[in-house]
């Protein structure tokens, strides 16, 4: 989702241009700084990997250090998935791999040979939103929006898990069918942090898509 403004600027180009302005302004202060040696910049061996992302096949030869998140954002420019903590603690990078939600920051792209990856861009588009995206808009399930792509991918994955009968920590009876309660949804969404604390509206959006009365 990258809606353009009437004058052709996207939110992203504005942000990037703004950041460049700040960097240029700060430049004189950095003249004496020693160049930082980045081991990550060293040219190493590459590994071949083929995977399908949002339906499109990508055959790549990449540095094996590249995480799935960095492949998506830095090489394929699918910047919907966000880098929050980069350590699996915040959930902003959540994507669906073969239909299951995972933290894309804590996996290497080369581990996903033959996998099908769905990101927020693959779920829906501005003119054709996924029901979960539409519900987040309707219920104001965000404020700053940074965690939102991860929240939405996670919520889609979670409903799949619930419909598949996967239990949770708060499931009272492990042999009973899944209960689509707010208590269950809150526990199951605990891997997605929202620093704006939009949780009540996030749960309201998910309940609507789950078909639970709100």
């Amino acid at each position: 989702m990258n809606p353009e403004t009437p004058d052709g600027y996207t939110r992203r180009t504005v942000l990037v241009t703004g950041a460049a302005g700040v960097a240029a302004a700060a430049l004189p202060l950095a003249v004496d700084a020693e160049p930082v040696a980045h081991d990550a910049a060293a040219q190493g061996p590459t590994t071949d990997v083929s995977l399908r992302i949002n339906g499109q096949l990508h055959a790549l030869s990449i540095d094996p250090r590249v995480t799935l998140l960095d492949l998506l954002r830095e090489q394929l420019h699918l910047t919907g998935s966000k880098k929050g903590c980069d350590h699996g603690q915040c959930g902003a990078c959540t994507v669906l791999v073969n239909g299951r939600r995972i933290n894309s920051c804590l996996t290497l792209a080369v581990l996903h040979e033959g996998d099908q990856v769905t990101t927020i861009e693959g779920l829906g588009e501005p003119k054709k939103l996924h029901p979960m995206q539409a519900a987040f808009v309707k219920h104001d399930g965000y404020q700053c929006g940074y965690c939102t792509p991860g929240q939405i991918c996670s919520a889609v994955g979670m409903l799949g898990e619930m419909r598949g009968g996967m239990p949770s920590h708060v499931t009272h009876d492990l042999s009973a069918p899944t209960v689509f309660s707010s208590e269950e949804m809150r526990e199951r969404m605990s891997g997605n942090i929202c620093r704006c604390a939009g949780y009540p509206n996030i749960i309201a959006a998910i309940r609507e898509v789950a078909g639970v009365a709100t």
Binding site: T67, N103, L106, L108, L111, S154, G157, P167, S168, L174
Partner: protein, 328 residues
């Protein structure tokens, strides 16, 4: 992240052989712990061996009524398996209390067992840590140590093992199956897999460098009431301060069998068979529970910030056993 070479192993024995041929290598499965540590420069493998395609992702029924769990079965699949939920609910409960749904979807059975401690000082490369850099000292000993061990620690290390799953497996007497580069296989009782720190806290298990876990076997279901009680700083997605895994079997009002294992106390899932035997033949009442706690905590020692774990464990043990008795 430091540079490394990468290969995909085709069989368990080939993976073990690759490890033997590449000193400094690591197996990678779910990667949720290893990649976290590599980004922080705590783990520095020069070669990664991808073991995700070894066909070890099934749960099979054994003739003796037990289960064989493949090393690569994801935590969420293990927790959701109908046979586990029915016969070993303790294991499902422990797994579901750990991490987040995203992590459980990726983390594997073997990886969960081999995850490394979350000691703040192990994670902080600016601080001494005998586990990370042998001989450098232990910053936790005089530091902020509220999450640290009260049993089985040494002057070199007071970190705890962070797994919930391993605590349940300890109570259930699981066995770990491995293969080495030579092709030799062996079975290790879960009680013997993890080592206490002693003077070598960097050596965390009895596994040889080229030994790959291929699976975990569970004996036939124990029955009884099975509970996992985890006490933590927030209601979800946090490591245990203390946890209690309990299996209680009763005939009438009398306890006929009991298993107790504990998390958050030591560098391995903790169990004291002599202490748990004090429940046998009793009604599981407050007096019997105190006798168990007395023996269990006889050698417990806090390090300042974690002194609270001693009374907390006693109370959590009481609460868990009281619930088990009420449920029967």
């Amino acid at each position: 992240m430091r540079a490394f070479t990468f290969e995909r192993a085709a069989t368990p024995a080939a993976a073990a052989l690759a490890m033997q041929q590449h000193p400094g290598a690591r197996f990678i499965a779910g990667g949720t712990n290893l990649l976290d540590l590599m980004k922080l420069d705590i783990e520095q493998p020069t070669h990664l061996i991808d073991v995700n395609r070894l066909g070890l992702d099934r749960i099979e029924a054994l003739p003796d009524g037990g289960l064989k769990i493949g090393a690569l079965v994801r935590n969420s699949d293990l927790a959701a398996d109908a046979r586990v939920r029915r016969g070993h609910p303790l294991l499902s409960r422990a797994l579901l209390s750990g991490a987040s749904a995203q992590l459980r979807n990726k983390a594997t059975t073997a990886g969960n067992l081999l995850q490394r401690t979350r000691c703040f000082y192990f994670y902080d490369t600016t601080k001494p840590c005998n586990k990370r850099t042998p001989g450098s000292g232990c910053a936790a000993m005089e530091g902020f140590n509220r999450i640290h061990a009260i049993l089985g620690a040494s002057a070199q290390c007071i970190s705890v093992h962070s797994s919930d799953m391993a605590v349940a497996l300890r109570a259930l007497d699981a066995q770990v199956e491995t293969v080495s580069a030579s092709g030799a296989v062996r079975r290790i009782p879960i009680a013997e897999l993890h080592r206490l720190p002693g003077s070598t806290p960097e050596v965390e298990t009895v596994l040889a460098p080229d030994e790959l876990i291929t699976g975990v076997t569970l004996p036939a279901p124990l029955g009884g009431v099975q509970l996992y009680r985890k006490v933590r700083d927030r209601a979800s997605y946090a490591f245990a301060l203390v946890s209690v895994a309990a299996v209680v079997v009763r005939e009438g009002r009398t306890v006929t069998a009991a298993r107790l294992a504990f998390g958050g106390l030591a560098a391995k899932p903790w169990r004291n068979e002599e202490a748990e035997r004090r429940l046998i033949g009793t009604d599981g009442g407050a007096q019997a529970r105190d006798a168990v706690a007395d023996l269990l905590l006889a050698d417990a020692r806090g390090h300042g910030h974690n002194d609270f774990k001693i009374p907390l464990l006693r109370r959590t043990l009481h609460a868990t056993l009281a619930q088990a008795i009420e449920t029967t």
